[in-house]
Amino acid sequence: MDQIAAAEVDQLQPGADMLDDEPFRAFDKMADYRAWCQSALPSWLGYGRV
C-alpha cells in the first residue's frame, strides 16, 4: 500500500488552465470525447490520437 500511496502524488497538472475550465462534461459517445480532446487540448498533453 505504501507503493500505491507514493504513486498517486500531488502534482501540478499540466495545462490546468485548459483542462479545468468546466466542472462537468458529458459526451454521448466516446468518439465525441476523443474528438473534443483532439481539437480542444494542446498536443503536448498527449490526448490526441496517433
Binding site: E8, L19, D20, S43
Partner: protein
C-alpha cells in the same frame, strides 16, 4: 485543480460499496492499484450502465462531495459514454463504454481485487489504452505490457 490521492481511491471504493455500485477502476489509476509504478491526476472508473446502477452511482458521487446539479445527475442517468467530473474533491472520469472493451460483463468476469479495490484486469486496461491509441497511451503501453506479464507471473507463483 484537484489532485488525486490514494485515500481518495479508498473513499471511492467505500462510497461505491455502500451504494452497491457495479464498477471497476480502469486506466492508469487501475493499473497503479495493481502495483504499476506511475503517477496519475484523476481516477477512472468503468461503470455498468443501467438505471439502478446509475442511481446508485449518482448517490455515491454526491456522498463523495461532488456538487452535481439535478440536470447533471440526469445526464449521468441517461447513459452517456463518458462523463468528466471536476466539481468535487478530486477529478473523476466515469467511463461507461471504454474503447477496446465490448461489454461491462466481460470486464466484470475478468476483474481483479486488490486490497478491496475492484480493478479491471490488466489485459482490459491495456486493451482500452491500445484501442484509444493516444500519444500518451503509446508511451505507456510497452511498460504496461511488461508489468502485466510480471503481475500475471506473480499471481501464478
Amino acid at each position: 485543480m484537484a489532485a488525486f490521492e490514494y485515500r481518495q481511491a479508498e473513499e471511492i471504493r467505500d462510497a461505491f460499496a455502500r451504494r452497491g455500485v457495479r464498477y471497476r477502476f480502469i486506466g492508469k489509476s487501475g493499473a497503479i492499484l495493481l502495483g504499476f509504478p506511475d503517477t496519475t491526476q484523476d481516477a477512472d472508473v468503468f461503470v455498468e450502465r443501467g438505471p439502478e446502477n446509475g442511481a446508485a452511482l449518482v448517490a455515491a458521487i454526491r456522498e463523495l462531495g461532488f456538487d452535481l446539479t439535478d440536470a447533471q445527475a440526469a445526464e449521468i442517468l441517461r447513459g452517456k459514454d463518458f462523463v468528466q467530473l471536476k466539481n468535487g474533491p478530486f477529478d473523476l472520469d466515469l467511463v461507461f463504454a471504454p474503447d477496446g472493451i465490448e461489454r461491462f460483463s466481460e470486464a466484470w468476469a475478468r476483474r481483479s481485487e486488490v486490497e478491496g479495490f475492484p480493478v479491471c484486469h490488466p489485459d482490459d486496461i491495456i486493451a482500452s489504452k491500445a484501442a484509444t491509441n493516444r500519444v500518451k497511451d503509446r508511451e505507456s503501453l510497452p511498460r504496461l505490457r511488461a508489468f502485466r506479464d510480471y503481475w500475471a507471473q506473480r499471481r501464478r507463483n
